[in-house]
Symmetry: C2
Subunit: 337 residues, 2 copies
């Protein structure tokens, strides 16, 4: 293992000079810099992370807490995680992966031990038990999601309320009057997950404004659950012609079932999804959808944290504006004779 001191000796300068070459925190003459850089390369020097963290009180690590459940929003989570890791690297940070399993203890542990300089939390509940801890520390943090009370916190999220409204507006403009909403699994609503509830508010609010009839049904993913849910919907509202789906694992089952029942998409019923673009474009019918900008969210969260760590910027709630892309799954409502 090569140390700073060895590099210094090799280059014929003092250790502090090498350190300043590395950090750029003091000016160094061009010739010295070159000599040092040459030595670093020649010896294959890598600064020791622990020593650096100890001396500078900075680990250059950002912690990312992902939900333990692997059964839900997997593509979104993965995309966010990768975006976080990639963005962090471009700013010189590494990413520590925490699972939700440890809950608040993980926050305490990471904060207390100086393992990470900052923290990103995903899968935030409206009234998340980790939030008081975050407010009580001076360690920067960012949430991906929006809790009930975001004061004193940095949050990045899609504006799901607007997304809900947008979907409904699109269906309404096409003449649909009876809309069914296929939501996430009931457990998601029971946990009071922000995005699910806010979407619903957006949908309901706009439905009221436009005088549409709205039926919301949570749904476990998968074919069988979807079959039951769909049967109930048509039972209760036979005139349903528009669907809004916010549940990745219900998308394909829904399409398959509609097809099977002889209801053509988009001729007989229209479907709008709120999901990552990839899901929308790979479905058996290319779906009109509001994209969940997973990468963008991950990137923004990291950039906020880096800014805060550099002493720039403060808390802020960033709600990304939803965009609706029209594809092949929506069309004019059928004219009932």
């Amino acid at each position: 293992m090569v140390t700073l001191a060895e590099v210094a000796q090799h280059a014929g300068v003092s250790a502090s000079t090498v350190s300043y070459v590395l950090s750029g925190k003091r000016s160094i003459s061009a010739t010295t810099r070159q000599r040092v850089e040459e030595s670093i390369r020649e010896l294959g020097y890598h600064p020791n992370a622990g020593a650096r963290a100890l001396a500078s009180n900075r680990s250059n690590i950002i912690a990312l807490m992902i939900p333990l459940r692997t059964d839900i929003y997997v593509p979104v989570m993965m995309e966010i995680a990768v975006a976080v890791a990639t963005t962090a690297r471009t700013h010189g940070y590494d990413v520590l992966l925490l699972t939700g399993e440890e809950g608040p203890d993980a926050v305490r542990r990471v904060t207390g031990s100086g393992l990470a300089d900052a923290m990103i939390l995903m899968d935030v509940q409206l009234d998340d038990e980790r939030l008081p801890l975050l407010r009580g520390t001076d360690q920067p943090s960012a949430l991906i999601g929006l809790p009930a009370d975001p004061s004193g916190l940095t949050c990045v999220d899609l504006d799901f309320r607007a997304a809900g409204a947008l979907c409904l507006g699109h269906l309404a403009a096409l003449g649909h009057r009876d809309i069914a909403v296929i939501g996430e699994a009931p457990a998601v609503y029971e946990r009071h997950t922000g995005f699910a509830e806010r979407t619903l508010e957006g949908l309901r609010g706009r439905a009221r404004e436009l005088g549409l009839r709205l039926l919301h049904r949570p749904c476990e993913g998968g074919y069988d659950a979807m079959a039951v849910t769909l049967a109930r919907i048509f039972d209760e509202r036979p005139g349903t012609t528009g669907f809004v789906v916010q549940n990745e694992s219900a998308v394909e089952p829904l399409l398959a079932l509609l097809r099977q029942q002889g209801r053509a998409v988009p001729e007989d019923v229209s479907v709008v999804a709120i999901c990552p673009d990839q899901v929308a474009t790979q479905a058996s019918v290319r779906l009109t959808s509001v994209a969940v900008p997973a990468q963008e969210m991950g990137r923004r969260a990291v950039e906020h944290l880096v800014a805060k760590l550099d002493g720039r910027g403060g808390d802020e709630v960033v709600l990304l504006a939803p965009e609706l892309t029209v594809r092949a799954s929506t069309g004019p409502a059928p004219t009932t004779p």
Copy 2:
């Protein structure tokens, strides 16, 4: 920030005593231990990670390198990642998330800086450029996947060759003679990804033994690509009655297309998948499948590393035996009159 010294003072002992209470590396009287533990709790002490790493030359971090591509095997990757994180925590380790983007440089950086004590690599190519680096260091590592030459390395993987053979055996036993294999995207084969090629070897070998006709077609995910591929298959081999699918994002499109063409599963054609159980059970037809034991793989990799870090055990190739679960997508071959 509370330090060891403060805890020591509070408990009326020396710093080293507190350290030994924490590590258990020397015997400590029960009364002293209690007093120290009480102080730790009272002061809310967390050992500083950097200082610990510097002094002990151990970071208690395991690096996990995941592929950058988020478009492929997402659920598997995610499951492995979560299993790695969870298992690592139970052994007192944290997980550093690296993306494949940096490639070999990441290996050098992490190894050189002492950021992590060990490393797990996913998405291993048969002739992966990171392997020489791993062999050249004394830092323990584990691969999830199997390269062409695993000598001097620890590898954990499903025995894909056996998995391929198993699928074919099952179809053969049901009387199918003409089998089509829907593979991963062409790029996966071009990269010489181990699992894809080994599956193919297993399939071909058993096909030869049993005298079956085998047609292998790589396939991009999604509905449209699958439609093209399927058309070609039936064009070339109209008598095809058995399918083996190794491509998560081709599963649902395949089922939809077969249904659409009036080919009933399993009455007219049988489908066996190689995929995580979750995909198999959530599909519109519950799929007979060989499970990719993602969690098990993640867990095993971590446990091997922990053992190596504790000075137990050495390099080893662990090939998990495949298990085929019969569900609703396979049945006897139709008798051609």
